[in-house]
Amino acid sequence: MLTFGIILCYLLGLSILLLISRKYSPAELLGYSFLAGIGFETLFMFLLDIIGVKYSPSVLIGVNVFAILAICGANYKSLLLLKDDLKMPTITMKDINFVAIFIFCILAYLLYAVTVKNLFWPPTEHDTIGSFDKLGRVMAAEGVLKISLYQYDLQGAGGLYPPLFHASFAYVYIFGAETPKIITTLFFISLLTTFYSAVKTYVGSTAAMLFTFILMLSPELFSHAALSLGNMPTTAYVCAGALATFIWLDKREEKYFWLGAIMMAFVIWIRTDTVVFTAAALLIIAIDFLKTKDWKRTFTYGAIAVTPFILWSLYLKMKIGTSTGNKFDLGIGYNTERMDLMLGYVKAFLFGGQKGAIDGGQLYGLAFWIFFLMLLVNLILIYKEGVKEILKDRLNVLLFFFVSFAMYFVLFYLIDEKVQMAPISSLMESSFKRGMFCFIPLALFYASTNKAATWFWVKVENFRNGK
């Protein structure tokens, strides 16, 4: 039954993907199908709650089958052409990238190892016991989103988050799962495959596989592949949404516009503090508008990306009877002590080193170092290529990275410690630390696809191919 539920989720995602376009790589299909599928499943669960229909396997199967048939029906003309696209390519020796296969084998074995751990142990982390897994289990038991525990403040902190993550737990519980940890593995695979497919678009399989390997092994992120916390799934959506948006702005391939907008919508459907990424995405889309003057695209992207935030805020206010906006101290002003403390942590996170209980190198490895190193190399290249060429190179990625990071920093700076019942140092060592995951795929995407890196990977590929 659980397998059937997961297949339905993938099929829903696949039907949405095929509605957008018929041309995807296998990695894109694998990654985006799940992210879109589970995102829409939770949206359906939200809508069922609004109209007062209780969740059950039969209700979810009915909704899924109806949705898949409706989407495929609306798209049947395009689907009829699929068989022409599905011709088996002829593969010769020179088409086989042995380097990528070698890295893939190591990656697959380590992924297998961490998945065995993930699926063997039940969730035991404080946050998932106190919140996410509990919400998912009780949602499945009671068949509603607004579970009875809200009445007694027993829902936990995650009860105020938008429902994507805990509703995905509820989804697998409804289909008979004993624990929800299969969801963690599916999110992790989606993170890796969407990242791989995006990097491969620019620099080929060797570099894409190597950087996917580096992304996967980012130590703290890797440890979350065996936990049931929301930070890694959030990273999967930020990675998919941001990278698809970058590719859309660069290559103008229609499918990436829709993928970017939909994934960005789910970024805010999984956590509201990810609004910093939505804002950064809207900024680069707005800058693009200044060049293209394409009102329709800009408005569509903005509307899709922001709608979940509005939906959830209204639900919180009207049905739960609370809001998320009271945890900030907007009158804090400039507090030197707090700023110094936070900057000390940021330095440790980005450049390694020790601050409090944080050892930056231990957490994120080389990820941010490679990013800053490549940034430096490209700045040096200004002498050779000229300012214009270098500034144009992945400017959207850099803008997105630095703007979202600055807003993320400000968000934490403004947090009211009394409301959060935790000192800022503790918040930096827990929440901020885990939120940093979202920046790793962005940093590695830039590091692998910038001008200098592209030049390097062309040389490697030429050598590998004997040119």
């Binding site: 035991t124 106190g130 678009t201 080929g204 440890s223 390694g352 030429n462 590998r464 040119k467």
Partner: protein, 249 residues
């Protein structure tokens, strides 16, 4: 920019220009093998570089054991020197790559080995098959107590939890037994209330049916007296009447 486009297209489809007539399988394999060797060498170098650092917890554990037993002074000194040497090694590259060693060696392979050993023991009959409850008991120390709560209360029970002061919160033995959001996960559909937060939920306070006593704390919340000599440190008791027979501890 044109150059960049050229680079991109070459990288995305690097083999397109090589005609099959020119293609030499042996050279192609050799060149691929060389790239694999370079990547493999880098990978192994990082791994080996951190191997000693990764053994630090094991060395420390051995040192502590020897120190407690007072045996083998020579080995103790040897271990001490090694630990000091490893701790003082703060080279930049090691500090950035030691996490990868941990991720591969401990997180992935270490756990895989541990789980496979458990499965082998189960298959050979040395260990019984683990249920979800067994695994929870293994990972959450206080789970048997919470299971006891479930087994001894009706589904509509409301449990008053012990106070979350330093006596309970400073030790991992009791996990988060004082935290109602955490406990609720294990006892749902029963409800629970934290001692000290009764005023926030007067409706729930009125409905309290049981008091969970931990480390002898909570007897003052009962509406009846329990003689001092009959008080057990850990027990679940009805709030308003003494149990007809003493429940199992």
């Amino acid at each position: 920019m044109a150059k960049q486009h050229q680079h991109k297209s070459q990288a995305a489809a690097p083999h397109k220009k090589t005609s099959s007539a020119e293609f030499n399988s042996f050279t192609y394999l050799l060149r691929n093998f060389i790239v694999i060797l370079v990547i493999g060498f880098l990978f192994l170098s990082f791994y080996k570089m951190n191997e000693k650092q990764g053994q630090l917890p094991e060395l420390y554990q051995e040192f502590q054991q020897l120190r407690q037993s007072g045996a083998n002074q020579e080995r103790q000194q040897e271990l001490y020197n090694e630990i000091i040497q490893l701790q003082s090694d703060t080279s930049f590259l090691k500090s950035l790559t030691k996490g990868y060693y941990w991720a591969i060696h401990d997180m992935a392979l270490g756990n895989l080995k541990q789980i496979n050993e458990m499965k082998e023991k189960i298959e050979s009959g040395q260990m019984k098959s683990l249920t979800l409850e067994d695994k929870l008991s293994y990972k959450v120390g206080v789970y048997p107590l919470l299971k006891y709560v479930n087994d001894n209360t009706p589904k509509d029970a409301v449990i008053l939890l012990p106070p979350g002061d330093s006596l309970l919160s400073n030790t991992s033995k009791w996990n988060f037994i004082y935290d109602p959001e955490w406990v609720e996960y294990f006892i749902y559909p029963r409800l629970c209330l934290a001692t000290g937060r009764e005023k926030e939920h007067p409706d729930l306070l009125k409905r309290v049916t049981h008091v969970l006593i931990v480390q002898g704390r909570g007897y003052d919340k009962l509406k009846y007296e329990v003689p001092l000599d009959k008080r057990q440190p850990e027990i679940l008791l009805p709030i308003d009447h003494a149990p007809t027979e003493t429940p199992a501890k």
